[in-house]
Symmetry: C2
């Protein structure tokens, strides 16, 4: 299908972390419409599935300001300017779970709500881990929660495990590792 | 764990669709920090898994402004003020895939990026469908794409199927329907 033409775009609101862009679009049928979208960070983010062994994934529990509650999920973070995706993944797991990986593989690239968010998250499978803690910029210590991949069903039933990216990534990895 | 105290909050940027809130937080260890989050819509959104038969899910292909490309995904939309969640789900599938459902079940509630987004999406399984098209407010016709649940692996490999919510919901439903 032919993409709509962007007739005009402008930043209509901006904060320290967020930028909102307004688009004037013309669809291929001639209909024009005004859309808004949140621009993502330039390089996107990484979400890492760190496997301590063939069955054990390392989750983290941390405060999630968007929901104002503690959430379980996979380690993740923004890719820095000029930083390689896999280097970013290895930095984040050292900061958040205290391990580095000798084998990092890009599995998939996810969007969150592509209709109005410009965010891309790269899912990285990290295996062959070794202890290598690094200091992040977190306001409090992150709790590391090992979880068995055979117990995904129980994880899905938890109220504090809700993040679509983490759920999608764990199912993908389970299919990949366990056929 | 004890949630951080919200010392102060204020809206720091706002557009037609988005509102960004700044939070001054004090963690239980005494550390204070400034966070920003995007506020979600009051009632959240629904994401529907409409099953035409035991194996066939109805996907849609539509323009996704956040990524400026066409994306495959599940039908979805905002819940209107005072609208029941299941009523919203049934309205959205009539507008987007042309079917209504006699059996709607709430399966799970997902977040997108709970660290900085206040968005909740309720996943609804819709079965026992019957033709009942309704007019939505889309700028162009939405393409409906039937997909076999046995072919999820092939779907995951597609570049135009990237949305974490849709991926998470389909895996959950596959586990639920097919054990």
């Amino acid at each position: 299908m032919q993409k709509p033409k962007i007739l005009n775009s402008e930043i209509v609101a901006e904060s320290r972390l967020f930028r909102i862009e307004q688009l004037e679009l013309e669809f291929s049928n001639g209909v024009t419409a005004r859309y808004e979208r949140l621009l993502g960070s330039e390089r996107g983010a990484v979400l890492i599935v760190p496997m301590l062994d063939a069955d054990t994934v390392l989750l983290i529990r941390e405060y999630a300001a968007g929901m104002h509650r503690y959430e379980l999920g996979l380690p993740k973070g923004k890719i820095e300017k000029d930083e390689d995706i896999l280097v970013a993944a290895n930095r984040e797991i050292q900061e958040e779970v205290g391990y580095a990986s000798r084998k990092l593989v890009h599995v998939s690239s996810l969007t969150l709500a592509p209709g109005y968010l410009g965010h891309t998250t790269h899912v990285i499978l990290a295996t062959d881990l070794y202890a290598s803690p690094a200091q992040g910029d977190e306001p409090e210590e992150i709790e590391v929660v090992p979880w068995s991949m055979r117990e995904l069903d129980a994880l899905m039933l938890r109220d504090d495990f809700s993040e679509a990216r983490s759920i999608a990534a764990l199912y993908m990895i389970r299919d990949r590792l366990m056929g």
